[in-house]
């Protein structure tokens, strides 16, 4: 008899039963059983959900993401060591996009760093990298006087995204959300729960909030349903991973394992503005300095199909002559822009906007062009 390795059981968020009860189509994502889209009878379907977020409001269960808390006298120093952005710029209540880097200057993960208190930081990380990131953070902050806690299972995280997101959430909380700027957080009473963390963050390229409530099933279901009821006047739609992906793609937000990974560095990924080289030390800094001096060879660009066809993850990108020059990291129809778009790595020389390329689709080269990114940018509200 051969020995069989035990397969890890698929993980479920506290809202799993709720999604199934709602009739969501479920899919396995990085070891998690997650909704990909909801039924049309609930206003769902990837395109309808995507449109709802762009024009009104949609809600997502994003509890699969992870949470690492660092607290103590040297918590800032610890964060500064492992994170490429400058956390010393954060006021209490402020957040920033950043990344944890390997010594090679490549990505362990991307992360949102929140400063919750004088010496307290919360890193929100990807679902697929929960354990890797926690080990990484713990192992590389041992010399700093701070605690490192894995709070990933403690929270049900719900994203409320879209132009009406703030209006919806305001109905449920006593916190003054109009005072919370984008990428800032607040705490308040929410659905009768005290001291709930609410951040004006998200992964949809829209305005909106992410809330963190206790992860027990009863509380999670109650809050989810109260949000749906409060959102009826705004035509709220429950949204799954399908729309989550098309929304972030339109906004050129990277996805770990696609635009960023352990074989791609910060310069190639075009995330320079989140990487503060003026910080004298952080993991990956030395390699990044060398890489910059050596010259960056390939770069992430946006593509738009010019001929009929949909570029998808992993498809080859060819130059005009049919030679392979790169590959699609993420590609899909863009439901709001009504185009077929993709992100891909190409050599620097072929990265200029307007460069004509081809994407190999089932053996045929189909025309595409390099376009400016992000493909979509939301209108900022005035006042």
């Amino acid at each position: 008899m051969s020995s069989v390795e035990a397969m890890p059981a698929i993980r479920k968020t506290a809202l799993n039963a709720v999604h199934r009860q709602m009739g969501a189509k479920m899919v396995e994502f990085n070891g998690w059983d997650m909704p990909v889209e909801y039924p049309a009878s609930l206003g769902g379907g990837i395109i309808a959900e995507h449109t709802a977020v762009r024009t009104a409001v949609g809600i997502f269960d994003v509890s699969h993401m992870g949470d690492i808390r660092l607290a103590g006298p040297q918590a800032l120093a610890a964060v500064q060591h492992i994170s490429m952005n400058d956390a010393s710029r954060l006021a209490v209540g402020q957040a920033q996009y950043s990344a944890l880097l390997y010594p090679e200057g490549t990505f362990v993960d991307d992360v949102i760093v929140h400063r919750l208190g004088e010496d307290e930081y919360l890193l929100v990380i990807n679902a697929g990298t929960r354990e890797k990131d926690f080990s990484w953070v713990r192992n590389h902050t041992r010399e700093f006087d701070c605690v490192v806690q894995n709070l990933s299972d403690d929270y049900t995280q719900i994203a409320i995204q879209g132009p009406k997101g703030v209006n919806l959430l305001q109905k449920l909380t006593d916190a003054d959300l109009s005072a919370v700027k984008f990428y800032w957080v607040t705490r308040g009473k929410l659905c009768g729960l005290n001291n709930i963390l609410m951040g004006r963050t998200g992964y949809t390229a829209e305005d909106g909030f992410e809330i963190y409530v206790p992860a027990d099933e009863a509380t999670s279901a109650r809050v989810w349903n109260e949000i749906l009821v409060a959102g009826r006047e705004f035509n709220v739609v429950p949204c799954g991973l399908g729309a989550r992906n098309t929304l972030r793609l339109e906004g050129k937000l990277p996805l770990y394992g696609h635009e960023i990974s352990d074989t791609i560095n910060v310069w190639e990924a075009g995330l320079d503005r989140f990487c503060k080289m003026e910080k004298p030390e952080f993991m990956g800094r030395t390699a990044l300095e060398k890489a910059k001096a050596a010259g960056v060879k390939r770069t992430l660009v946006g593509l738009e199909m010019t001929e009929r066809g949909i570029a998808r993850d992993g498809y080859k990108v060819l130059d005009g002559g049919g030679c392979e020059i790169g590959y699609v990291t993420s590609g899909s129809p863009a439901p709001f822009l009504k185009k077929n778009i993709a992100l891909s790595y190409v050599p620097r020389e072929l990265a200029a906007v307007g460069t004509a390329v081809k994407v190999e689709i089932r053996g045929q080269g189909v025309g595409a062009v390099v376009v400016p990114t992000p493909f979509y940018k939301r209108q900022k509200k005035t006042a």
Partner: protein, 129 residues
């Protein structure tokens, strides 16, 4: 649901409606429901030769690419151009959205296909898994 009895069905969820030696082909309501929003349909050119059971094109949803399998062998005589601009019609009315017409080479191949009642049973079993 009750599937139209005026046609036959494949395991891969295509339907074929036959008039004399002309077959009209599309995908079933079960297929469009499983796929979700259809954004792209790729069909062969007029004149192409199809072989029963072999792929003849693709139908794409937002997330995935699915092969289309020929219910019968024959030569393509017409292709529904509307699906190039309005693929969502397949979601709206799968049984009323034809993809192509072909002249059947070997009508006895149809005997192998499901009747409406057999297909309905097949789908109920598949959906139950």
């Amino acid at each position: 649901m009750a599937y139209p009895t005026d046609r036959k069905y494949t395991k891969e969820h295509e339907w074929i409606e036959v008039n004399g030696t002309t077959g009209t082909v599309g995908i079933t309501d079960y297929a469009q429901q499983s796929l979700g929003d259809i954004v792209f349909v790729e069909t062969p050119k007029v004149g192409a030769e199809l072989t029963a059971g072999k792929t003849f094109g693709t139908v794409e949803s937002v997330k995935a690419v699915s092969d289309l399998f020929a219910p019968a062998s024959g030569t393509v005589t017409e292709v529904n151009a509307e699906l190039a601009t309005s693929p969502e019609k397949v979601n709206q009315n799968a049984h009323g959205s034809w993809m192509l017409k072909l002249t059947l080479k070997n009508p006895s191949e149809l005997d192998r296909l499901f009747s409406a009642a057999e297909y309905e049973k097949f789908v109920a079993e598949e959906a139950g898994h």
